[in-house]
């Protein structure tokens, strides 16, 4: 592999690249899916290849291949340079990556139990037991239980002198129960919806989730929701469970702070952002209790690593401090552009804060979320509910939609309870809330404490063309928002 990397870099330079980097990525994935009591799939996949990114004639080109051969390395390097030169036919300015980044080292996700050493039988037994517990509940019509384990080994090398090897390991799991009656379909999930919760940890993460213990509860809730009252139409106080706060952060903050979106390079697909550079350092994004960081260094997050895919070290940076918007997620190019745009300031250094991430060898790094975390507040959840005279508590995301500038959102949850005089009362089905991002975060008057704080994993974040799925983390605890419009099924 070292020879392939060296040959690729050398070939790119010989063909005229002023900069080149190579990433070799090898991914092993194991997935287990149980559906309605039967094993739907036990699969393992291996995927290996390399991608070369070059600057030639002041423009970027990228080519990649799954054929790990020296001859192919020459072809791919040649193609990348040719593509860069074609890009240069339609360029406005030369690519500026800023000062060289020279990094050498290794990083490995710390794990207690390597999930690839745990037997298939043990994993299946756990899933089948959880599935059986759900199916035991009368009225449940379909069930699903899954586990996913991913090991990604990657080597990054550049003509600037970087050489980095990393091994990132992820473990994920989840269960879902669906109940159908009289045209009503209700689903409950645990620990999170969209299939699973996931972290960069080992099999100990799976054991901690205790799927079997939670299975009867979510199955019962799915059935109970069939006959629950619909969520009323109202403008009221809303308390969101931690995983839904995580989703709210992801959609209305995480994407909005991606500096490539801000500069319009995702305009045709993912969209742009309302957090324009003139707002940096002065815009009131949320209330004073809203403190958000991007932290690629925190253990366990899906956005935790040693270096990003441009070889920039993992960092923790402030995004929202006491409600004021103070930081973007950046890569090398966009950080330089922001510096040219705004000049140096406490919020603008011209250096990447390490958010360039690629899905695999066959994709270029884009600015992606790392772990975008809402820092914990001081409230115990019980106290927060007791402190709420009237409102609705919603939990676990069911649907999510937001406009292309990340302002107007509408999120549905799996379950809700009415809050009356400080108590969680009747169950409500099909709850939905909607709002405008800064108005919503400014209405946040309480965030729950560390004891409720979970580093949630989002393993399904789409962006870019060709499409890339990123795995991002979002630390969050339940939080309260005032004067929110809520409604049920329309």
């Amino acid at each position: 592999m070292d020879e392939l990397i060296a040959r690729t870099l050398n070939a790119a330079q010989l063909r005229g690249a002023s900069y080149a980097d190579v990433r070799v990525v090898e991914t092993t994935r194991q997935s287990l899916l149980v559906r309605n009591g039967t094993v739907q799939g036990i699969g393992q996949s291996e995927d290996v290849g390399f991608g070369v990114r070059v600057v030639a004639d002041g423009a970027l080109g990228f080519a990649s291949s799954h054929r790990m051969e020296l001859e192919e390395a020459e072809r791919v390097a040649d193609l990348a340079v040719r593509i860069a030169r074609a890009s240069a036919l339609v360029k406005r300015e030369d690519v500026d990556l800023g000062p060289p980044v020279v990094q050498r080292g290794t990083y490995r996700t710390p794990v207690e139990i390597d999930p690839f050493t745990v037997s298939l039988e043990a994993k299946l037994e756990l899933l089948l037991r959880a599935d059986a517990e759900m199916r035991r509940v009368r009225g449940v019509t379909s069930t699903e239980a899954e586990m996913v384990f991913i090991r990604q080994r990657k080597t990054f090398a550049s003509t600037e002198g970087s050489w980095i090897t990393q091994e990132i390991l992820e473990s994920g799991c989840g269960i879902e129960a669906t109940a159908v009656r009289d045209g009503e379909v209700q689903r409950r999930s645990y620990p999170n919806s969209v299939g699973r919760h996931q972290q960069t940890r080992g099999y100990e993460f799976i054991l901690e989730q205790d799927l079997v213990a939670h299975a009867p509860r979510i199955a019962e809730e799915a059935v109970a929701l069939l006959s629950a009252d619909p969520c009323p139409d109202a403008v009221t106080t809303l308390i969101l469970g931690g995983s839904q706060v995580a989703l709210q952060i992801h959609e209305s903050c995480g994407h909005a702070i991606e500096l490539d979106r801000v500069f319009g390079t995702e305009a045709a697909y993912a969209g742009t952002s309302f957090l324009t550079p003139d707002r940096l350092g002065r815009f009131r994004y949320g209330s004073e209790v809203v403190n958000i960081v991007a932290d690629a260094t925190i253990p366990g997050g899906l956005g935790t690593f040693g270096w990003d895919d441009e070889g920039v070290p993992a960092q923790r940076v402030d995004i929202v401090r006491e409600g004021i918007f103070v930081g973007y997620l950046t890569d090398r190019q966009s950080a330089r552009r922001l510096l040219r745009w705004l000049g140096p300031s406490p919020y603008v250094t011209g250096e990447s804060n390490g958010a360039a991430r690629a899905m695999s060898w066959n994709r270029i790094p884009l600015i992606r979320m790392t772990n975008i975390n809402l820092l914990p507040g001081t409230w115990r959840l019980e106290d927060l509910i007791a402190d709420t005279d009237e409102g609705i508590f919603m939990d676990t995301n069911r649907s999510w939609s937001i406009d292309d500038r990340r302002l107007n959102f509408q999120f549905g949850c799996e379950i809700a309870w009415e809050i009356k005089r400080g108590k969680r009362t009747r169950l409500l089905r099909n709850p939905i809330y909607t709002g405008i991002t800064p108005e919503f975060w400014r209405s946040c008057d309480a965030v729950c404490s560390e004891e409720h704080w979970v580093l949630w994993g989002t393993p399904n974040c789409g962006k870019g063309e060709p499409g890339q799925i990123a795995h991002t983390g979002h630390g969050a605890s339940p939080a309260r928002f005032r004067n929110v419009r809520v409604f049920g099924k329309r």
């Binding site: 291949s65 339609v90 298939l120 009503e184 390079t265 305009a267 406009d403």
Partner: protein, 450 residues
């Protein structure tokens, strides 16, 4: 490109080595290049060569699978061994009907040498033309132009071997100018079927029309939907309920409606993976020939599409709509339609505007998500050009709106169908061909400030 002979040798050789059980191998290989532009410059320009083989192996009714992207005999043998090891440790899947037996599959020609041979310079020149058109009016263009060669093969130990090589080209652009934007998109398998400059011109024109939008309050309005928005509706109907698994589990919009007229009788929707007017793939990922399946016939749901597992449950033959089941993303979805066609009508855009009289004319929907499956209730935003229509003519652009709408109910109120169809990529191995639609009512639940 690997070519049929090499693929056949590789897959049949691997199957011959398998010692036990039934084995199925799905191979996906190809080369894709994509030139992406924004701010009137090419900013991302990429190419990929890749190939994957997905093995499913059954020991009796015990199933295992493995995927590799190393396409050599040794790697395939390892994948088969791995799938076998998994299968041996798996409990039985009682309703596994076995892999299908061979059926005659007529090939469909959908390979264009010009698309396969398109160079980075070819793509850059066309993108340059798009940018020039935008710059002429002080606008900013973004988008992507891609070309791909795709090889798909399915083989199993019962003697199935199917191979298809096709090309795919796709262009999309969003053009922004001040406070308005326009959009254009098409897919094709022939390079010269993609008229990039005329598509760019239409997006530029739409952006110019969309300047200085006014606010229209949320409410229920009649709407004229461009085919881009119609594809979103058709795609959700397909994804969230036109597959047999959703119907069998009672979570489809078709449940309790099959055979009953619930949509406008102007609407006929079918899936046809063999029609060269789409992006054909003549067999599914179990190697079963794709059938033309009428999903809605003049407003009446006729039934879902099947793979072998769901078909066996209902005592029917597969319609050839299996997804690649070894891929985890597809494992729990069941069969899906991936080549949808909505019947064309006879109304021109002017006819449709005149018939709309007063209401909203919408370019496309964005970030749509399923809220409730049984009525296919979806929420999303409008994007890239919304207009208020009065007296059958566009009066002025309006700000984007959020909608929450049951697609089944909305399509029950289809009043007219456009006389032109667009072929639009659906990201699921195919593309959909749809016309514009005039709908009696559509529910908007919020507005944005732009």
């Amino acid at each position: 490109m690997l070519g049929e002979r090499r693929v056949a040798e590789l897959l049949k050789g691997a199957l011959a080595q398998a010692r036990i059980g039934e084995v199925e191998i799905v191979l996906l290989a190809g080369h894709e290049a994509l030139t992406r532009f924004a701010n009137n410059t090419i900013h991302q320009n990429v190419a990929e060569t890749n190939g994957e083989a997905a093995v499913r192996l059954a020991v009796g009714k015990r199933l295992g699978s493995a995927i590799t992207n190393r396409l050599d005999p040794e790697a395939l043998a390892q994948a088969i061994a791995q799938a076998e090891a998994s299968a041996r440790r798996a409990p039985e899947t009682p309703d596994f009907p076995g892999f299908p037996a061979p059926q005659p599959t007529e090939p469909v020609f959908a390979f264009d040498e010009a698309a396969a041979g398109a160079t980075p310079e070819d793509r850059a020149r066309l993108v340059g033309e798009v940018i020039r058109l935008a710059e002429e009016v002080g606008a900013v263009a973004s988008g992507a132009l891609s070309t791909a060669v795709e090889e798909v093969a399915v083989a199993n130990s019962k003697g199935v071997f199917c191979y298809h090589a096709g090309t795919r080209v796709r262009f999309r652009t969003v053009v922004h100018r001040e406070d308005g934007s326009g959009y254009a998109e098409r897919a094709a398998w022939r390079w010269d079927a993609l008229h990039v400059p005329s598509l760019a011109r239409s997006a530029v024109d739409r952006a110019l029309q969309a300047q200085h939008p006014r606010e229209v309050p949320p409410g229920v309005y009649p709407v004229l939907l461009d085919p881009y928005a119609v594809q979103d509706m058709v795609s959700w109907l397909g994804y969230a309920g036109a597959g047999a698994l959703a119907v069998q589990e009672g979570r489809s919009w078709m449940n309790d409606r099959i055979g009953t007229k619930v949509l406008s009788d102007l609407l006929t929707l079918w899936d046809d993976g063999r029609d060269p007017a789409g992006i054909p793939l003549p067999f599914d990922f179990e190697g079963v020939p794709r059938q033309r399946v009428v999903i809605v016939d003049r407003g009446v749901p006729r039934g879902p599409v099947y793979d072998t597992v769901t078909a066996a449950r209902d005592g029917k033959p597969s319609t050839g709509h299996a997804l690649p089941k070894a891929w985890p993303e597809a494992a729990s979805l069941g069969p899906l339609p991936t080549h949808l066609f909505l019947a064309v009508g006879d109304a021109t855009t002017e006819d449709l505007l005149r018939a709309l009289g007063e209401g909203l004319y919408i370019t496309r929907f964005w970030y749509t998500r399923l809220v409730h499956p049984r009525d296919c209730v979806v929420t999303g935003m409008t994007r890239d050009g919304v207009f208020w229509v009065e007296g059958g003519e566009i009066a002025y652009p309006v700000r984007n709106l959020r909608f929450t709408q049951g697609y089944v109910q909305a399509l029950a109120g289809a009043k007219q169908v456009g006389n032109e169809t667009y072929l639009l990529s659906n990201g699921r191995f195919g593309a959909d061909r749809v016309p514009a639609l005039l709908l009696e009512s559509f529910t908007f639940t919020g507005v944005t400030e732009y």
